[in-house]
Every structure is written in C-alpha cells, then in structure tokens.
Amino acid sequence: MSQTGRAGSPGQVASPAALSRRRVLQLGAAALPALCGARLLADALTGSGVETARAADTTAPADAYDPSAHSWAFAIDTTTCIGCGRCVEACKLENHVPEEPEMNRTWVELHVIDQDGTVRVSSPDGGIHGFPTEETMPADDAANVRDAYFVPRTCMQCENPPCTWVCPVSATFRTEDGIVFVDEGRCIGCGYCIVACPYGARYIVPAGETTPKGVAGVVDKCTFCYHRITRGQLPACAEVCPANARIFGDLRDAASPVSVALNENRVRVMKPALGTRPQVWYIGLEEEVI
C-alpha cells in the first residue's frame, strides 16, 4: 500500500486501492446534484410540493395585520351548545377539509354521563349532521343518564405544543399570535405530529384531496381560520354557531368576547396534566373524557 506522492511520476501505475478511493470521492461529488435532480423529478411525478404551493398564493391579506399584537383563543360553552353541527359543516366548506367523515378540523362530541359515573362519548360523522336523538340518546336510556352535553372540539393551538418539536424537518411551528401551522412545502407526511397530538386534531390529507393550498399527502389541521381572523372576521365555526357556544377573540384585548367569557366563568382546559397549555377553554366541562 504505497501512499507516497509518487502516483504522478511516469511509469508509476496508481494502485488499485487509490483508484477506488478516487472513484468514491467522485461519486460523492456527484451525489448532491443527483439528489437535487431526484427531488425535482419526484416533485414533477407527484405533481405537488412547493411549485403548487406557490401557485396557490392569492392576494395578500390586510397588510396592517401585526401578529405580535394578538393572542387568539377560544372559549367553548358546553352549556349552550345544541349539537347542531353547523360549525363542522362550515369548517369543511371554508377550509377545503376532505369530505371523508373521519377527517375533520373541528368536530362535536356528545358526552353522556350515567348515574354510576360511566362516561360515553359519541360523535356520528363528527356531528356534521347533528345528533339524531333516536340514535344518540334513545328514550329508554333516559333514566340512567345523569348528565349529557355537547362538546365542540378543535385544535387547541397549545402554547407548549407537543406536535411542533417532534417534527424531524421543522415543518410545523407556532406563530406569535398563537396559531400552529403546517408548512406544506416541508411536510414529509411521516405522521409523527399526528401520533404526538393528545387532542387528535391533525390528519394527513388522503388520496384525491388536497389542502386549501393544493398540496396532497401532507398534514393539515385547524388554523382558527387564519385567513378570516387576520381580516377582522370570526372563524367560520364561530360565525355560524347559532347557540353562541364558540366564543372567539383576542386575549390581549380585555373587551373581546373571549376575555370576558374567561373572566366571568369557571373554565378548564382538556388534559392539563400534559402541560400543553391549550388556548381553548371549556365552560361547563364536567368530566375528563377523551
């Protein structure tokens, strides 16, 4: 194994070992453009990725919107929710949510607590067609039921989200105004954030569907209708709620409905022991249920 600098001298054949090492370095140098090319080819084949995302960009929202001046939150009143499911339908139509009934950015659950303390939870198609009384609360059950109420559910936009730091490519992040997003250009669809979320708020967009920005196969979730709240509107679910059960607002504004609701009611969050600090508070939630 002669490793001296004599390879260039005439008559000296480079040893086979050195030749293969050079080959290895050449291959390494060729790998990076090959990977870039492979990425472009993959994008072209799958027809998604950053190009589509760029194409989906529409006009910018109100430029006066300053994320650092807001802190969005919900207060959900389970004592007034009537389980009509208008919110679920509104969300699906507003946010291009997949039509599959098991994919919802927001949904309504019915919690039925029996006399002996057993809790039963049901959510037919996420509650999008309401809760027909015959199926969900049959009359012959009535004597056994101690309490029953509807619980609208959504992404909690946690202050300490367990979904953001698990992403291997930093595709999901939380903004200053408190919303957790998924960057569809970076998401690889591994599903780690979906198993990490304690509240079941995320899903991978299935075949045949896309996110509102036209990307398939990536993770999607509730964004508190960011495109509406930055324009001064309410999220679609809060807009259509007939029972005033979804109280939305800016925590930084003491006069906003959510601040008032949090001040005037006894509130709790779901799964406080996990330390996620959710930004969705519940009024009248009795049991720690799923």
Partner: protein, 219 residues
C-alpha cells in the same frame, strides 16, 4: 494518545515547502467551507421555493387564502327585507350562512340588477330545522326544542314558521270536515282560514288535518 502522537509526528511536514503546502491546504479547506455555506444559502431558497428559513412567510400564505363565508352585514346589502325580519328576533343569533351555506363568492359575483331572492342559491334543506330543534336531553333545557313525532307530524316546518323571524302562526283548528265544501272556499274563505303561505302544497283533507286539528272533546 501517544500512539496518535507518534502517527501524527510522522505526518508533520519536514520542509519549508511542506509547511507552505499544509498552510495552503488549510486555507483551501476553509475556502471550500465558506463557498459551501454560501452555496447552501443560495440553493435552499431555490429548493424550498420562497419559504426558505422563514415560517412567517408560510403563515402569511395561510392568511392569503380566500374566505368562503361572508358576514351577515354583507348579506344585508342586498337582502334587506330578510335581514329586517331576522334582526333582533329569536333567530338573530343564527348567522345567515349558518343555514344558507358559504356565500362569499355569491356576494362578490351576484349580478346587481337581479332582484334579491330571484336566484335559488343556498336554499336550506327541509331537514335543517330538525337538526337544531329536535328535542334531546343533551340540549340545554332553555333551548326551543320539540318532539317532532308529536309536533304536527307530517307538516312542513315552514308552513307555519317564518324562517327568518322564527315567528310561528299556529294554524287554526277546523271543526268540520272539508269534504263537500266548494273548492274555492277551501282556500279563499274569510276569517277562520289562514291565508295560504308561499309554497303551501296541494293536499287532501286528511293531510290538512295534520296541522289543522279537528278538535277533540274537552279541547
């Protein structure tokens, strides 16, 4: 450690040209590193489009989406009668689009010259009333709910209830059979019979009895 030092000792440049060569190699390596990092900074925005390292831009792209639901104030611009009937009444907590669906695009593109209500857009389904107002133990007791099996079963909700003001006109009770009455009287008789509301279907005597109940003893 000493083995490493011995190995390195053999590698140490032994002449001035060796030292110069080693120094140039170090500078060259550093230059390659700098070029590489600058190259990465240039390549990454190209690979990731306009997002690169800035999640704020991604957030702004989410904010740039187009809302599908307008606000009630937008509906008022063209549909003043319905808005006036709705505003301040018992259905005032129900947004227009809660029943009529997303209509932002309609509001933006509807022809101004067409009279409001002439197009059939967003007319809610008949079953929509039941979803909210069907009686259920899980709904708050103060909420207006009825057992649909008992409440004028077979009739249309909108025959008696105005959808916007939520006012209900209870149909009067007809004490006698409508058979053998002249056909005109069935509809056009004065006091005792309510005016026919829009969309009242043609029906036989038996069907009418669903709403216009024949009085029983003691009623």
């Amino acid at each position: 450690m000493t083995r490493l030092r011995a190995a390195l000792a053999r590698r140490r440049p032994t002449s001035r040209t060796g030292v110069v060569r080693a120094f140039l190699a170090g500078v060259g390596l550093f230059a390659v590193l700098v070029v590489g990092l600058v190259g990465v900074a240039v390549v990454v925005p190209w690979v990731y489009g306009e997002y690169g390292f800035h999640p704020e831009e991604n957030a702004r792209s989410w904010a740039a989406l187009t809302p599908q639901y307008a606000d009630t104030a937008v509906c008022q611009r063209c549909h003043e009668p319905q808005y006036a009937a709705w505003d301040g009444e018992r259905h005032a907590s129900v947004a227009c689009e809660s029943c009529h669906g997303p209509l932002a695009e309609h509001a933006a593109t509807a022809p101004v010259e067409a009279p409001a209500g002439s197009l059939s857009i967003g007319t809610p389904d008949e079953g929509l009333c039941a979803i909210c107002h069907e009686q259920s133990p899980a709904k708050p007791a103060a909420f207006a709910q009825v057992d649909l099996a008992e409440h004028y079963a077979g009739g249309r909700c909108l025959n008696c209830h105005d959808s916007h003001s939520a006012d209900a006109v209870r149909p009067p009770e007809i004490p006698h059979s409508l058979a053998r009455l002249p056909e005109c009287v069935t509809c056009h008789a004065p006091a005792g019979l309510k005016p026919v509301p829009d969309g009242h279907v043609e029906s036989s005597d038996a069907a009418c009895q669903g709403c216009h109940k024949r009085p029983t003893a003691g009623q």
